[in-house]
């Protein structure tokens, strides 16, 4: 128990150092350009995050005042667990509506409404207002995609070369992870195409559902939807990225905040229990291939009355490589291409227990008739360990179609 407050202190110190570094950068060479001479005057030539909120076809093709777009994902799946077919079906996984607008190049609004499972669930996944002062300093408020790992910021199905999302992002951190918040962001371009960027927000944070709604052990996704800030105790999340060139970047993220209701009506009704997350993400071209990966570690303060059932420490990673080939092989479909992709991943949902973990290898072969549209064929083979450490094996074959519109 004594290490948990220390972690919080460490995170706050880290934030302080980051802010000091930021201040130095803001006052250093290349910083503080005027509003007139930067890319704010038009749609940014270079997106803040490649594949992120401002890097969608409907935005880059923006005309008029409001741009409407979106994407659709449908897939057919066949899954087998320990020799038993337990999933065989077709689903329209999500239909997302994207609406964006700019007001006199100083205010930009991005929003995304997600309809999942045939519309049975509708979620505002993004609704942010950016007020732009200068590249190095801007403010943002609304329902934000938390900058906790790169995949959460750029998780659209048409971008993902796999039919499924990485378990590290989806099952460990809870992608898509969107919460109300406000804060600052910016970037500083360096000579040679390099860029340093940062984001730092105060958000509602994970809520107690990560324990209370999660019978199988600690699961952050069960506590991610927190649109009302249940415990009235904001969390902080921040990410910095160094990008030497457009297709490469190294990002470091951190999150810290209380998840339980420990104060109510001005009274202390429980001990404060925090969640802390650190994530390191990378993407880089290597020869003809493009690589991306992410590793995250989680610490959760646990109620003292629940020993041995919930995890205080979790971790996970994925690494994915993709090789695009066959561009224009199909003469009648100029701009088409194929992609071979492979992903290796593992998540340990309880680092203090032998068991409660998974690992998998995924292979994908995709065809893109257009850059915005992809037909994916994926195969995954993996192992799970239950809390007794009993081994289970799974295999999944999936066919997916995803397209921006």
């Amino acid at each position: 128990m004594t290490t948990r407050p220390a972690l919080g202190v460490t995170l706050r110190r880290t934030m302080a150092v980051l802010l000091l570094g930021l201040a130095a950068l803001l006052t250093g060479p290349g910083a503080g350009r005027s509003l007139a001479d930067d890319s704010l005057a038009a749609a940014p030539a270079r997106p803040f995050v490649r594949g992120g909120y401002d890097d969608k076809p409907h935005v880059s093709g923006l005309f008029g005042r409001i741009a409407v777009g979106g994407y659709l994902e449908a897939r057919a799946g066949w899954a087998r667990q320990d020799g038993v077919t337990d999933e065989l079906g077709i689903e329209v996984t999500r239909w997302n509506l994207l609406i964006s607008t700019r007001l006199r190049d100083r205010v930009a609004i991005f929003s995304e409404i997600e309809f999942e499972d045939g519309g049975s669930e509708a979620t505002v996944e993004l609704a942010q207002v950016d007020i732009r002062f200068m590249p190095a300093f801007n403010t943002r408020a609304g329902i934000l995609l938390l900058p906790l790992g790169r995949f959460n910021l750029a998780h659209d199905a048409p971008r993902n070369e796999m039919v499924t999302r990485p378990a590290e992002a989806e099952a460990l951190l809870g992608v898509a992870l969107a919460q109300p918040g406000l804060g600052v962001f910016g970037w500083i371009d360096r000579p040679g195409g390099a860029r340093f960027s940062y984001e730092a927000y105060s958000v509602t944070g994970y809520h107690e559902g990560l324990i209370a709604d999660s019978p199988e052990g600690t699961r952050l996704p069960a506590g991610r939807r927190n649109f009302e800030d249940r415990n009235a105790s904001p969390a902080v999340v921040a990410r910095i990225e160094w990008s030497p060139e457009r297709r490469a970047g190294l990002g470091l993220s951190g999150y810290h905040g209380a998840y339980n209701i420990y104060r109510a009506g001005g009274l202390e009704v429980d001990e404060r229990r925090d969640v802390s997350v650190a994530a390191l993400d990378v993407e880089a071209p290597l020869g003809p291939t493009q690589w991306s990966g992410e590793v995250a570690t989680v610490r959760v303060d646990l109620p003292p009355t629940l020993p041995g059932l919930f995890a205080g420490r979790q971790a996970g990673f994925y690494l994915m490589g993709a090789w695009r080939f066959g561009e224009d092989w199909i003469a009648r479909m100029p701009g088409s291409s194929f992609t071979l992709a492979a992903r290796v991943e593992a998540v340990d949902f309880d680092r203090d227990l032998a068991g409660d973990s998974m690992r998998a290898l995924a292979l994908g072969l995709n065809f893109r008739p257009l850059p915005e549209t992809v037909v994916k064929f994926g195969f995954e083979r993996g192992e799970t360990r239950d809390r007794f450490n009993n081994l289970g094996a799974f295999a999944r074959l999936r066919l997916g179609v995803a397209s921006y519109f």
Binding site: D213, P215, T305, F325, G326, A331, A395
Partner: protein, 422 residues
């Protein structure tokens, strides 16, 4: 690009030529992948274990309706309860399957502590079972002072329907409480009371009922076992027991911490789990070898079979798969004095502090498969091998134990091989 354009000045033709050639290599790669895929399809797509090698297979010969009930119960048996679904306020674990690994026995981490005072289950102190976990806002129980305790490893749950279907007369006919045959082995039934919420038509529902389940045969009915497990182990109220199990010694009321209205699950879910338990098949024993047959003979001559009766038989039953069939459980389902070493000095129903129900030996063959290669035997899991368990026997089993200890090493190995092949 330049030289190619000179050789093929017509772009359309070039595209046609190259598009054909470019398909060759990926076509070969795709073909190879497909070939390799189909060759190793079974392993790639995972394979199911043989039904004889698991603890959670249904009995053979079930009707489609019974199989549907089995699957429904299987899902409920494995369902973990979240706090927001009614877990607690005090509890031991989050689901049935969380204590019974693969439907087999539990691990030492799952050991339950039962306590009482001179046979009184002391509900006013939180008895008969310690709930050492609590949801936030509630207080977990602490063991009261001056109580008798007994640590109980969760037992396997397969074959319980077959055990239930054995006629009481068949079990009682083997009882010899006064040891009239003078073989040093008595064996007596645990006749137990039945709570009112168990219908009289339910197997084991008429008091005094013959206890068959539990380490001291203290439970007569699968329904009662299931209701109590939900109530005490998981903290889930049912139509049968709609009042929360609370910590009576808590410094403040703990009911308020559980915000889910009672009963938290209906009788239909409880009954689906009962149906599942009733229809679970025991794993098949291993094949016969000369060494095992020698071990089988020694198992009899040493005297193990006096209590570990190899086969009992079910009677008529509404479910054909349970009716009139042999049950190779290696138990007489009676209580025996097991000596000071194993005594918990705590009575349970008619069972005294030295008595334990003969533990069935079926399923030992694959026990380790679900315990990470380890073995946890006897009522509290203290024995890490069959041999260690045998050597801890005493009381009525002292003669058999000494007989085993006196065997030559190869004979002991043969006997152990036989037992571990059950």
């Amino acid at each position: 690009m330049g030289p190619e354009q000179q050789v093929n000045p017509a772009p359309v033709n070039r595209a046609r030529v190259w598009s054909g050639r470019r398909w060759i290599a990926p076509g070969m790669v795709a073909g190879s992948v497909l070939l390799a895929f189909s060759a190793g399809c079974g392993r790639l797509l995972t394979t199911a274990p043989d039904a004889a090698d698991v603890f959670d297979a249904p009995l053979a010969g079930l009707s489609p309706a019974d199989l549907a009930a089995f699957l429904e119960g299987d899902e409920q048996f494995g369902k973990p309860f979240a706090i927001s679904e009614g877990l607690g306020p005090i509890f031991n674990n989050v689901s049935c399957a969380s204590c019974h690994s693969g439907d087999g026995r539990g691990r030492p981490e799952n050991v339950l502590t039962r306590f009482s005072i001179l046979g009184d289950l002391v509900p006013e102190l939180g008895g008969p079972q310690l709930q050492d976990r609590a949801i936030p806002g509630a207080e977990a129980e602490r063991l009261p002072a001056n109580v008798e305790t007994s640590r109980r490893l969760p037992p396997p749950v397969f074959g319980m329907g077959l055990m239930e279907a054995i006629p009481a007369d068949s079990i009682l006919s083997r009882a010899d409480p006064a040891d009239l045959d003078g073989d040093g082995v008595s064996g007596r039934p645990n006749l137990v009371s039945v709570p009112e919420f168990i219908p009289a038509h339910e197997p084991g529902g008429t008091a005094p009922a013959l206890g068959r389940f539990g380490r001291k045969a203290q439970v007569s009915s699968l329904l009662l076992q299931t209701v109590n497990a939900y109530h005490q182990d998981i903290g889930i109220t049912t139509d049968f027991r709609p009042d929360e199990n609370v910590n009576p010694l808590a410094s403040r009321p703990t009911e308020a911490a559980d915000r889910v209205a009672d009963p938290e699950i209906p009788a239909s879910i409880v009954r689906s789990v009962v149906a599942y338990l009733r229809l679970l098949a025991p794993p098949a024993p291993g094949g016969s070898t000369p060494r095992r047959e020698a071990g089988r003979a020694l198992f009899a001559t040493v005297g193990c079979v006096s209590c570990h009766v190899p086969v009992l038989r079910t009677g008529p039953n509404a479910t054909p798969a349970l009716a009139n069939r042999e049950v190779p459980l290696y138990s007489d389902l009676l209580l025996h004095d097991m000596g000071d070493g194993l005594a918990d000095n705590r009575s349970d129903g008619d069972a005294d502090g030295r008595e334990w129900r003969t533990t069935p030996l079926w399923g030992l063959r694959i026990m380790r498969d679900f315990l990470n290669g380890q073995a946890f035997l006897l009522h509290d899991g203290r024995a890490r091998s069959v041999e260690a368990a045998v050597l801890l026997h005493g009381g009525e089993a002292q003669v058999a134990r000494d007989g085993f200890a006196g065997l030559a090493a190869d004979q002991r190995a043969a006997l152990l091989d036989f037992v571990e092949s059950r």
